[in-house]
Every structure is written in C-alpha cells, then in structure tokens.
C-alpha cells in the first residue's frame, strides 16, 4: 500500500510534550474531524471496541464519536498526561484505549514482555520460500494498489500452503499449528464473510489475485513479462470490484501473451509434480503457482477477449485438499 497518501504526518514514536504541542498547533482541527468521523464509522463495525458506557451515554453515534474525539484532544493537550508512545493515526482502537486511560504504550512498543508462548523455529528451507512469496506479494500489492492483496493471496492459497504445516509436523518438530479452536485468536473471529456466497466471491477474486502473483513471481521465465506486468500487475480500476480489472487497456496481442504465459507456467507445475527428486520448496511453489491458473483466473481479461483466452487456457485440475 502506498503510505504516501496518509493524510496527516505521524507523530514520533515516543513524542515529547513539545512535539505533541507543535503538532496540535497545526493539525488539531484535522485530527478532531478525523477522529469524529472515524469513530462514528467504527460503531457500525462488527468489531466494535468502544465501551458500552461511551456508546450508550450519548444516545447517538454522532454524539458519542464527537465526545470521544473531544476527550482525545483534551488528553493530548493536558499538561498532566504524558503520551509515552504514539500509535499510528489509523490505529483507532489503540487511541481509544488511551483515551479511556488504558496503558497502551508498554503493550505495543516493545513486544518484549508479552510474547505468547507459542513460538517455533522453522526448518531452514522454509525461510527462502516465505521470503520470496512475501517479496512478490508486497510488490504486487504496491503496484496494483490493492491494500488487501496480501491477505487475499494468503487466503486463496491457504490450502496449497497447508503442505508447509503438514511437512513441519512430519519433520518431527512436534505439531506447531494447533487446531483453530485452541487458539488465542478465536475471540476476534466474527464469522463475517463466512457465508457461501461470500466464499464464492472470495474464490473468484482469489483466482485473479493468484494469477497476478504468478505473473510477477515467474517474470524471469515469461515472454513479454514486462508488458504483462505493466497491465495485469499494474494499477486496477476499482480495488473493490470483483475481480479488480486492470486500468490499462488489454488488446488481443496481450491476451494471447497471457495465454502463452499461463501455458508455460502450467508446464512448469506439471513437470514439478512429476519429478520425484523435486525439493519440498519447489513442490510448494508449484502448488501455489497452480492456484493462479484456474479457469476462474481468466476473468482478469475484459469480456471481449475472454473467449479467446478461455480457448487456450491450460486445463488445470484442482485437487481437493
């Protein structure tokens, strides 16, 4: 995500009183207006974090949000109260906690004293794989300007990557990833977006996300890689669309190049699956690659060229994991 558009300059991580004052002298009104509108919006969120007192006392989200914004500005200006550690402005919940006097500073600043017990050392071969995926994903997120690209890709490839967890178990490190039920994150789950229709929508979107990843990840072996990247991993027209379509025009030549690229990548996947001596890392990479080559991925091409693309698309069989 391009952080350059962030509207307000950030406070220093551990701001002095003078730095806070200087900031407020210039931006107090903007900050207040931001908090007022953002907290009002947070009342509609499924993960509402505003205390019941604040929500109920004022009758309407409008009044409650304005009250919270007032309280935050008042606390920032209060000479008696020190802001030990400044959260990013987008981190509404941490600011809210501070506004009601909870100590946020120590909790997030170091992480040193509150590392959960579940911690594992991964085998050596995992690191380069994870780093390579991560690098590609972040680059794609940046270029397409889809802020949730990483989360979508991770979700779409979860079944393919599950092999990692299986292998880790087999390698005798114990069973690092316990069942979700036993995990600390469970209270945060609200099952929003878990309906069947949501899953279908996610799957469609995920396929194009994975295709974007594939093109960027395998750019070294693709013909016309630069042209493909410029369009399909370039800025999208509307990041909320399903799937998000490239902003740049797609002509017939480029559609053909995409088909050729998909066939080439599929050949690689196929070969890796057949080769007995392929390393675990190579197998994982191939499975993740295959996720972007489903027929659903062709939806990334505008309708007028879709039949052309569909005709040449590799016949990828998706196994049930």
């Amino acid at each position: 995500m391009n952080t350059a558009v962030s509207g307000l300059p950030a406070l220093p991580r551990h701001p002095s009183k003078a730095e806070v004052e200087a900031f407020l002298a210039e931006h107090e009104a903007t900050l207040w207006q931001y908090w007022r509108t953002a907290f009002r919006g947070s009342f509609a969120s499924p993960r509402r974090f505003v205390s019941h007192e604040d929500a109920l006392r004022f009758g309407s989200p409008e009044r409650a949000a304005t009250y919270i914004a007032d309280r935050l500005v008042r606390r920032l200006k209060d000479p008696e109260i020190t802001l030990h550690s400044a959260a990013p402005w987008e981190d509404l919940r941490t600011w809210y906690n501070w506004s009601v006097g909870k100590l946020m500073a120590a909790r997030i600043a170091t992480g040193g004293d509150r590392i959960p017990a579940k911690r594992w050392v991964l085998p050596d071969w995992v690191q380069p794989v994870v780093h390579a995926w991560c690098r590609t994903v972040r680059e794609a997120a940046h270029q397409t300007r889809i802020p949730t690209f990483e989360a979508e890709w991770l979700y779409a490839t979860v079944r393919q990557r599950r092999e990692v967890a299986k292998l880790l178990r087999r390698d005798g490190d114990g069973s690092p990833w316990t069942e979700a039920q036993a995990r600390g994150l469970l209270p945060g789950l609200d099952r929003q977006g878990g309906s069947n229709a949501d899953r279908v929508a996610r799957s469609r979107r995920g396929a194009t996300t994975c295709l974007r990843f594939d093109i960027l990840h395998k750019r070294d072996m693709l013909l016309q890689a630069d042209a493909l990247i410029a369009v399909f991993v370039g800025p999208v027209r509307d990041a909320a669309a399903n799937p998000p379509m490239p902003e740049a025009a797609v002509d017939e030549a480029l559609a053909s190049a995409l088909v050729a690229a998909a066939r080439m990548m599929w050949a690689l996947v196929d070969e890796t699956r057949r080769t007995r001596s392929a390393t675990t890392a190579a197998r994982l990479d191939a499975e993740v690659l295959a996720r972007g080559l489903l027929s659903e991925s062709t939806r990334i091409v505008p309708a007028e060229h879709r039949s052309l693309v569909a005709a040449g698309w590799p016949r990828v069989v998706e196994e049930e994991g």
Partner: protein, 217 residues
C-alpha cells in the same frame, strides 16, 4: 527462522506496523505458513479496518478549512445559539409544508444523496443575517443574506449533496441591526473562520451539519 502465533492484540499491532522488526518477522512467518482460513479472514478484516481509517484520515486532511470551521463551530457550542434563532428544515408533503426543527441534541442530520435539503432560518430577534454553506472540500458559498425581524422565516435555496461531499455545514451569522458583512466581497473560509473564532460582540451563530447517509452494500 522463527514463527510466532500472535494473539489478537499482537496481530493488530502487526497490521499497524508497531511491532519490533524481529517479532513482526515471526508473525509474518506464521501468516505464511500456519494461519488457517479463519485467521486469515480476521487478518484481512484488520487490514480493511486500517484502510478505512486511512481513507477517513486522508479525507479529513484534504480539506483543513472544513475541519477548522467545523471544529471552531463545535467549540463555540450552543452558548451563542440560543435566543430563538434556529435552522429548521422545511419538508414538503402533498403540498403541505411541514416544519421540522432538527432536534436540539442532534449534531448532524443524515440525508441521502438524491434528497433536496430545504432549510429555513428563523430569527429569535431582529437582525441582519448571512447564511453560508461550507462544503466538504472547504469551499464556502453564500446561500442568503438580508435583514429580518424576529420570528420571520427565511427560505433558503434548496441544495443537494454533491458527489464526493460527505457533509456540509450550514452556518448562519446574525448581527443585531447592522449587516453581518459587506455584501460586495465574496465569502471565504478564512472570513467565516475569523468570525466564528472571535464573534464580534452581539453576533449570534447557529449551525447545523447535514451528512450523507451511507447504506452498507
């Protein structure tokens, strides 16, 4: 390489980039190797939350004049708004005109984008008035100006929220007797802000915000 399964607070801190580099790296390794579908959905929701907040931040920062005026009006509060002055909405229903005073305790009224907002100004005491509209971008336009007696209803031209406008603030400045501003210069944000921050003696200010209602998709 270490992997670390975070709790909710830590995952949120990861999303906001406030973890130590080493811890952050370990959480990332968990996201890429161990997180389940449910956990990844939660991760996505947290990223989404951050992006929504960021969009609000960008919006607020893009029109500092609007923020300044809204904040100044808020701090001015209702101390000067009493005395019977009021901004009310006129609703047309089957040819009958209903007057609805926006509830005193409401700071803002929600309107949908295709709705025409008809506002009337009622003065509590004789005076000269000017009514200004502060758009979301910070632009200030004049809706009406004149002299009126107590209790008189002044109909303001109806307006709609334009695309991209999330809220408009209607401000009425009322001066006893004298005209609130020379009528030959264009109203500006700075002009309005100055009078809201330090109202000349005897002036009254009433204001109301109209905000776009958003329906969840």
């Amino acid at each position: 390489m270490n992997a670390l399964q975070p709790d909710l607070e830590m995952l949120r801190a990861y999303v906001h980039g406030t973890l130590d580099a080493e811890v952050s790296e370990a959480v990332r390794a968990w996201l890429y190797t161990g997180a389940t579908e449910d956990e990844l959905m939660l991760y996505e929701a947290l990223v989404q939350e951050r992006e929504e907040a960021r969009a609000q931040l960008v919006r607020a920062a893009s029109s500092p004049m609007h923020s300044k005026i809204a904040y100044a009006l808020h701090r001015l509060g209702s101390t000067l708004a009493g005395g019977g002055d009021a901004l009310t909405r006129a609703l047309q229903l089957d040819g009958f005109e209903l007057l609805s005073r926006d509830p005193d305790d409401e700071l803002a009224t929600g309107v949908s984008s295709d709705q025409t907002i008809d506002v009337q100004l009622v003065l509590g005491a004789d005076g000269a008035f000017v009514v200004l509209c502060v758009e979301a971008g910070g632009a200030v336009t004049q809706l009406a100006e004149g002299v009126a007696v107590a209790g008189e209803r002044i109909h303001l031209p109806g307006f709609q929220l334009e695309d991209g406008d999330d809220e408009v603030v209607i401000v009425a400045l009322i001066a006893p007797g004298a005209a609130p501003r020379p009528s030959d210069d264009k109203p500006t944000g700075a002009w309005l802000l100055e009078r809201v921050l330090t109202p000349p003696s005897g002036w009254r200010v009433v204001h109301h915000t109209y905000r776009r209602i958003r329906f969840a998709p």
